[in-house]
């Protein structure tokens, strides 16, 4: 058994860099993205082998699934842009562009490339040496965390670190996610999907079956996070996957979600997290120092709100832009209604 596992480890450790190399070397971008997704799935196998089930869940859902979806949608958008460009007869420029990388660059500056390669390998040798020199002390902070588990209010050690012992890391991380959503929203508008585009029967049935199941799984992951692998990140990622499915199927309900509701859902997690951090200070502790008796409930409350926000944020990142203002749309509708009424009165 151990031998078989050892062989598996060797194969996995070799396949990961090989896949990385293949995906960067492949001339076809679509193929590169597909290879990237498979690399993410293999990475999650590696996490399982290294006894990191929390990270494995997050990697499979976020690292492989949602990042892959983001790449695929960006690729489709780039290709659509290029196609429209072709229609504008930029063929000449395109040819030039195709000829430029990477052959031309390699020919023009071999010295710079060799120098960069040399510096890169020196850097890596130093890094590898440092890694080899680092003493391997099993446990490290493990015993310290285990000793404080009684105060944390949860049984899972990773959740205790994430939301109690190093809660401000997670607070800042939720803020980073919020900032990313703000950045994407301020850069672009969401792509307009044609209203009459209906999903095929397979996709529609799949959405109808899977979305309720995924929401249940997300809730379960958040709940079980207090004692086993799981938590707000994994639950939020599953929620986001449900959102991506709904966006793909172009369900009418999703399109009609008012923008204000979406904004509140984005803010909910960060706001609640920040409020509870400050509330802890007003009770008498430090920032994010929950009262010991009720720490478990505080963590569950924060995790649920954060999971909803993470799900909505990741789905919004996939949608790739701020939604069209419903206010403006309504105003147009109102105006036309007004004019109709006026016309009616006039007639």
């Amino acid at each position: 058994m151990t031998d078989a596992m050892g062989i598996f480890d060797i194969m996995l450790a070799l396949v990961l860099p090989w896949l990385g190399w293949r995906l960067l070397a492949s001339p076809n971008l679509f193929r590169a993205v597909v290879l990237f997704i498979s690399l993410g799935l293999l990475m999650s196998l590696a996490w399982v082998r290294l006894h990191a089930p929390d990270v494995a869940l997050a990697e499979a859902a976020i690292g492989a699934g949602l990042t892959g979806a983001l790449f695929l949608s960006a690729l489709r958008r780039l290709e659509r842009l290029r196609d429209s460009e072709r229609r504008l007869d930029y063929a000449e420029k395109r040819e030039e562009e195709q000829n430029l990388p990477p052959e031309k660059r390699r020919k023009s500056k071999p010295v710079a490339y060799v120098l960069a390669l040399f510096l890169l390998s020196v850097f890596l040798l130093l890094l590898g040496g440092a890694l080899l020199k680092t003493p391997v002390a099993p446990g490290r902070l493990g015993p310290a965390v285990a000793g404080q588990m009684g105060q944390s209010g949860v049984q899972s050690r990773v959740t205790a670190v994430l939301l109690n012992f190093r809660g401000y890391d997670t607070l800042l991380e939720v803020m980073v996610l919020f900032l990313a959503a703000l950045g994407v929203w301020s850069l672009t508008r969401v792509r307009q999907t044609p209203q009459e585009k209906v999903p095929g029967p397979v996709l529609a049935t799949l959405v109808r079956l899977l979305v309720p199941l995924m929401i249940t799984v997300a809730g379960y992951l958040v709940w079980i996070g207090s004692s086993r692998a799981g938590g707000a990140f994994q639950g939020g990622a599953v929620l986001a996957a449900a959102g991506v499915l709904l966006l793909l199927a172009n369900v009418t309900v999703v399109r009609q979600i008012p923008s204000t509701l979406l904004r509140w859902a984005l803010v909910l997690g960060p706001l609640l997290f920040l409020l509870s951090a400050v509330a802890c200070m007003s009770i008498g502790g430090n920032l994010l120092e929950y009262p010991r008796q009720s720490a478990g409930s505080w963590i569950l409350l924060i995790e649920s709100a954060t999971a909803v926000s993470i799900g909505v944020t990741l789905a919004a990142l996939y949608a790739g832009g701020r939604p069209h203002e419903p206010a403006a749309r309504e105003a147009i509708v109102d105006k036309s209604a007004d004019t109709k009424v006026k016309n009616g009165e006039g007639a």
Binding site: G20, V33, H51, V55, I62, L70, R140, L177
Partner: protein
């Protein structure tokens, strides 16, 4: 011991391939893929650092940090992908060109 060495090597190789790709590739989408590879390598090395042969000996702090890192890396990727789309919209290509080359092209066009 050998597991630690193996996955350390794997993480270092992923980081190296990612760094090489980041410098070398010209298409911006591939540069983002390369940056993601680098982060995967770093995560691998961090988790290997927390590894122990027994479940009780495992250090949960790097696990929590990697979980945070995965979410931060998807955030940066999302913003970078939108920027790439904007670059292609404005310049008709998703490439970064050196200044000198662009000037030369400007002259030949003129």
């Amino acid at each position: 011991m050998s597991t630690i060495f193996l996955y350390n090597f794997s993480g270092l190789a992923l980081f190296a391939i990612g760094l090489h790709g980041l410098i070398r590739s010209s298409h911006l989408l591939r540069k983002i893929l390369a940056a993601n590879l680098m982060s995967s390598g770093i995560f691998l090395i961090m988790i290997v650092g927390a590894y122990g042969p027994d479940q009780a000996l495992i250090d949960p702090v790097p696990h929590a940090m990697v979980l945070t890192g995965i979410l931060v890396s998807i955030s940066t990727t999302a913003v970078a992908l939108v920027l790439v789309c904007l670059v292609q919209e404005t310049t008709n290509r998703a490439l970064l060109l050196q200044k000198r080359k662009r000037e030369q092209r400007g002259r030949t066009d003129a």
